[in-house]
Symmetry: C2
């Protein structure tokens, strides 16, 4: 016999998932409808409309990919790139590197621009990269580098890309719902995020949005999309109503309920209020961490992901283990070049509250030698 | 403001999703853990072990793909096929056709064997196909054709494929948990299913399993897998513990809780009892439908999906609409060549109960002219 399921109530302050509020878990467990049921189609349409509000876009093609954030990355890249294409990718951490790997699997020739992990790209560096590779079809960049906590300024980049005839593709996995993400104002052509970060929904879906310019590029493809599951030319009939809601795959019904509820919470709080709350909690955490002698790795830190150096001589995994076991509190370790050298503390959605920040600081102080 | 979420309590007797029992919805809404939390890793390992029992396999590489059933299809094909490969696909409905499309996107040269929709393949036909295409690396076939209700006998096919040096890949989306599926005894090398059919779990995950022979084939690849998200060479570290549970993507935690509970229910009932229940409910439904003058399309019908012809002069969509609106009862329409001409009635997991079969028959009698 299988033991009953009793997951502990953890306070999730790592790089994601973040703590999921009861209201969203309740929506998640509402009765399952069929994926072509008119009531479900109504909920799905509302979900897409809420996504447009949170992405700040009018893009018709805005929908939740039936997979986690990395499925959103693949959806963006596999639909926009094909063999023979060139692409530029900006790498300053794990997730830029993944974009590159994924672009190559689409058959594209990829030009990397790199700065050290933790740093961000200046407008000049981005302009030079675009100038150096004029035949690129796309420039891909990470808005919120979850591996380093670096916050990339994206203003102006859309115009630079469009002036050179390129598309701008953005990873907003750790920023959507916690930082400003202005898809239309910033001229973003394709963007992907995750549900389990600043939306505080369980993992399992990836909100994506494509501009009309991106749609044109997809329609001009010469080869079929390499993925059947993520082929937007088929998915768009279901999500935007063309072709009579043609069945492609069975949508993850209950996860869409949860995402709809998570987005409703964002809209009720108000995007600006929500971003201000994340900023404020970041300041509170930052002051506390620095008081404990911990220093931030990136110069431009995200509110939502706080990456600090582990002081020398400290076994970072042991401290994380104590936080988890004695306080039911999860924070993250370093990734890639920062493995063993950094902690990553998430302030995302439900987790970005004064009570949680103070708990974390007190527990951390208790654990540090 | 967004209206509260109140999905109706539907009785789901279409081609899936099936009705989800309260026990599984409750597991789905348990507190979210981190994807590297030791408690979660424990639940995930148990889930994979339960999947082995239900698939009747010892395959170490047995895990839930983080997407719906069609993501499982893509996982199987994109990892086993690469440009230059040949593959045989058996088509007798929508899902064989999808396999072909997906194989082609992997860069393989595909040889189709076809019989009319609703029919199944004889051993002789399969043997001839294997003989005709001796260089094929794989033969792909659908065990339970959800579009026609046809039940393909798979016994002996594994040996035939292996004798010719081929892998056997099987779509078991609509059979796992409702029909016998004996991965090891039948010599299946790669198989995919869905959670929302005979496991009565919400849609969102795809149980897959790969034989050691399939693993060898993956290791002998000459090109990278075309999908980053579904690349088993990276996924296997997380799911089977190699490489220290290396992070690849954030697993859909709550969906895994639900799948674990769904599989626990299967194991508690006992696979044989469960299959016998599906057989018995199929006989009950069949007798009732035939009494209403409805005849089955396939000669070899699945227990789990019952595809009947709509009598001439009847507006099939109107009847389905009445069942949904007046009885909160969902059945499916025809797909592909059977669109407008067939009904598809699912008897899957929780929905395969005497009370539900009798309700459906009574409601259908009420609606028929």
């Amino acid at each position: 016999m299988v033991a009953p399921l009793h997951p502990r109530q953890r306070l999730l302050m790592g790089p994601g998932p973040s703590t999921v509020p009861a209201r969203i878990l309740q929506a998640l467990s509402a009765p399952t409808l069929g994926h072509l049921d008119p009531q479900y189609i109504g909920y799905m349409d509302e979900t897409c409309e809420l996504m447009r509000q949170v992405f700040r876009t009018e893009n018709k093609l805005t929908f939740p990919v039936s997979g986690t954030g990395m499925a959103g990355m693949e959806t963006v890249l596999v639909n926009l790139l094909e063999p023979g294409d060139e692409a530029i990718v900006c790498i300053n951490g794990v997730f830029g590197g993944r974009m590159k790997d994924n672009m190559q699997r689409c058959g594209a020739t990829v030009h990397s621009v790199e700065v050290p992990w933790g740093e961000t790209f200046t407008k000049d560096q981005l302009g030079e990269a675009i100038e150096r590779h004029p035949k690129a079809k796309m420039i891909g960049i990470v808005h919120a580098e979850t591996s380093t906590g670096a916050h990339q300024d994206l203003t102006g980049l859309g115009d630079m890309a469009h002036d050179a005839g390129m598309l701008l593709a953005v990873d907003a996995v750790t920023s959507l719902g916690g930082h400003e993400v202005a898809v239309d104002d910033w001229g973003i052509d394709a963007i992907y995020s995750g549900t389990q970060k600043c939306l505080s929904c369980p993992p399992g879906l990836s909100p994506v949005s494509f501009s009309p310019r991106a749609l044109e590029a997809m329609e001009a493809r010469e080869t079929p999309v390499r993925s059947w599951y993520l082929d937007v030319s088929m998915l768009k009939n279901y999500y935007t109503g063309g072709g009579g809601r043609a069945y492609h795959h069975t949508a993850p019904i209950n996860m869409v309920y949860a995402l709809r509820e998570a987005l409703a919470i964002v809209v009720e709080e108000g995007l600006e209020n929500r971003i201000a709350r994340h900023a404020e909690m970041h300041q509170l955490l930052r002051a506390g961490l620095e008081k404990l002698g911990l220093s931030y790795i990136p110069q431009h830190s995200l509110y939502t992901l706080n990456c600090v150096s582990v002081p020398e001589g400290i076994d970072e995994a042991a401290i994380r283990g104590r936080l988890l076991n004695d306080y039911d509190l999860e924070i993250g370790g370093g990734l890639g070049v920062f493995a063993g050298k950094a902690w990553r503390i998430g302030l995302m959605g439900e987790s970005a509250q004064r009570k949680h920040v103070l708990t974390l600081l007190a527990a951390l102080e208790d654990c540090l030698p």
